[in-house]
Assembly symmetry: C2
Homo-oligomer: 348 residues x 2
């Protein structure tokens, strides 16, 4: 129980350290240079960066360049880096990547499951040599757990046997099942040892499939499911289980890519991340769990220093989420755009 930090916060003001977001998409080029500036606005100063660029990050040199570019554009944020699991990875580069480019994990995308994942995995067994090396170097395996070919309603559930198989074969490999959206994923994480955890996004705590079908801005992978699943995610967060913590999967797309046919999956949440979560945790009735969810459980799993200095103040004061945000040259529509949320963020 020493993992818990159950302060009884005043409901009107909560002081927190800057939060950790263990799943973020920062894109490339000028878009990237501008997106990184949104991280701190959302109350976050440490992020785990996804590697699904075009081309995906599979080599040390590429990783190091990306890491340096991120740091040069946002000095106040710590970037935890990942590589994209593919047959292009040279396992002899992992150690130096860890030492010199802050590599903490490798991300498994099934082939073509989401944005920029055409070089993803077809046969998980082919990755076993990489998993062995990762276990040796204590790198974390991040999994986008969806089965290609299954319906969007079944794809996550159908993937779970793969997680169990990897875990059974590599019980000391630390695994993060990313952005879970189903009760079956919760059950799977709970069945495994402490090396298997999950991240949860604000949008999967809020949306159901009903919110997706008539609003393409709410389309993401995995797709938000039936209310039963959304409520199971809310329950596990409310229970304060340390295996479940924040990974926002904030995924900006220019507005025009979020509309009509073949629209891109992804919800952008960085700019208002902690206010969204305060709003949702308050709705669930577990504001007291917020600090553990956004500042502690993830840090503990990743063996990172736990921040103690209070740096942000969450104030119970309504704010209107704008219809769009200009990020560099692009108009990006944020999560819950045009609606009012109950909390605002101040910096101490």
């Amino acid at each position: 129980m020493d993992f818990y930090n159950k302060n009884t916060h005043s409901k009107d003001e909560i002081l927190l350290p800057f939060a950790d977001d263990f799943h973020i998409h920062l894109r490339q080029g000028i878009f990237c240079d501008n997106i990184v500036k949104e991280i701190k606005k959302g109350g976050v100063d440490r992020v785990l960066v996804m590697p699904n660029l075009s081309p995906p990050i599979t080599a040390f040199k590429q990783l190091k360049e990306y890491y340096n570019r991120l740091k040069s554009n946002e000095k106040d944020v710590e970037f935890l880096m990942t590589m994209f699991l593919s047959d292009k990875i040279n396992i002899d580069e992992l150690e130096i990547s860890k030492k010199e480019a802050n590599l903490v994990g490798i991300k498994l995308y099934p082939n073509s499951v989401t944005t920029n994942s055409v070089e993803g995995i077809n046969d998980i067994k082919s990755c076993y040599p990489v998993f062995s090396k990762m276990q040796e170097l204590d790198l974390v395996l991040h999994i986008h757990g969806e089965c290609i070919g299954s319906s969007v309603l079944d794809s996550e559930k159908d993937f779970l046997e793969n997680v169990i198989n990897i875990h059974n074969k590599f019980p000391n490999l630390r695994i993060v099942l990313e952005h879970i959206s189903t009760k079956e994923s919760i059950e799977t994480v709970l069945k495994c040892n402490d090396n298997v955890v999950a991240t949860i996004t604000p949008h999967h705590l809020q949306l159901t499939i009903d919110d997706v079908v008539n609003n393409s801005y709410n389309y993401c992978k995995p797709v938000a499911k039936h209310k039963n699943h959304r409520d199971a995610l809310r329950e596990i967060v409310k229970s304060g289980n340390k295996k479940f913590f924040l990974g926002s999967d904030s995924a900006p797309h220019p507005d025009y890519k979020k509309l009509g046919k073949n629209c891109e999956p992804g919800i952008f949440s960085s700019t208002f991340l902690i206010p969204y979560l305060a709003h949702i945790f308050n709705e669930i009735g577990c504001l007291d769990n917020l600090e553990n969810f956004v500042c502690r459980f993830g840090s503990i799993f990743f063996r990172l220093p736990i921040k103690t200095k209070k740096s942000i103040k969450i104030v119970k004061q309504k704010q209107l989420v704008p219809n769009d945000i200009n990020i560099g040259l692009f108009r990006v529509v944020p999560f819950l755009s045009g609606t009012t949320i109950d909390y605002t963020l101040e910096f101490l």
Copy 2:
């Protein structure tokens, strides 16, 4: 078995009479004047017209005006008219509506279930006096069967007990369960006597929820469901059961209303209706059932003359469905826009 007309058609050419579409939205004003011209292009010359205008059609005078406007803009199509079930209906006007404005049925929309349905029904029992009069006049009850408050995945299934209740109370009332999307609806229709039938749209025979989440042009009510349900609809069509026939629910919206937040439900299929169905029936392997589905089963249920004169030729020849169609002042995106379908229509 005299309902069946199982010609073995050549797979390359099929001759048919003009088809009947027992569910179409023709809108209002100039938009309407242009939409009616699309009906025959799709191979149809008799349509059952939905009454969810703004305001909805609840009175004889209104119905007559709409009927006259439709006829004046398209003389070669027969319009079968419906009224919108609400407490505004005066049952003493039903008989004259039937005689002078071709009224054949009344449509039940649960309150706010789809486009222009805010004046829909909250309490079905309050409609019993209208149902009695309809039974007496042999008017057909058309039902948009979705429960408000249920998830889009459950709403149709959850509504079915209402259909059973109405049918048990009014066993001689002819009922069409419109645009069915679930296997539970098929089962319900099969359980009832011959007075209860269902219409099926081309899009519910083709799409699943997977096609909806990343393409707002595929959003309609009821929402396309899991593949299991889509396949059950294909099976019942393939079985050639006379209780299931065409109602396209073709529902044009200007393009800008089909994009982004709160996009409008509805798929526009009139312009290529019979080619779509030939394409889909061929895919299912039941082209021989097409004539019954689009020309006979519905006519028999509605006690209309069955057309025998062959007027259209369906040719196995690929065509590209355009990205959009100009209808009056508006750009409308048709069903399967930008894709190639396997059949083309010629007029004899």
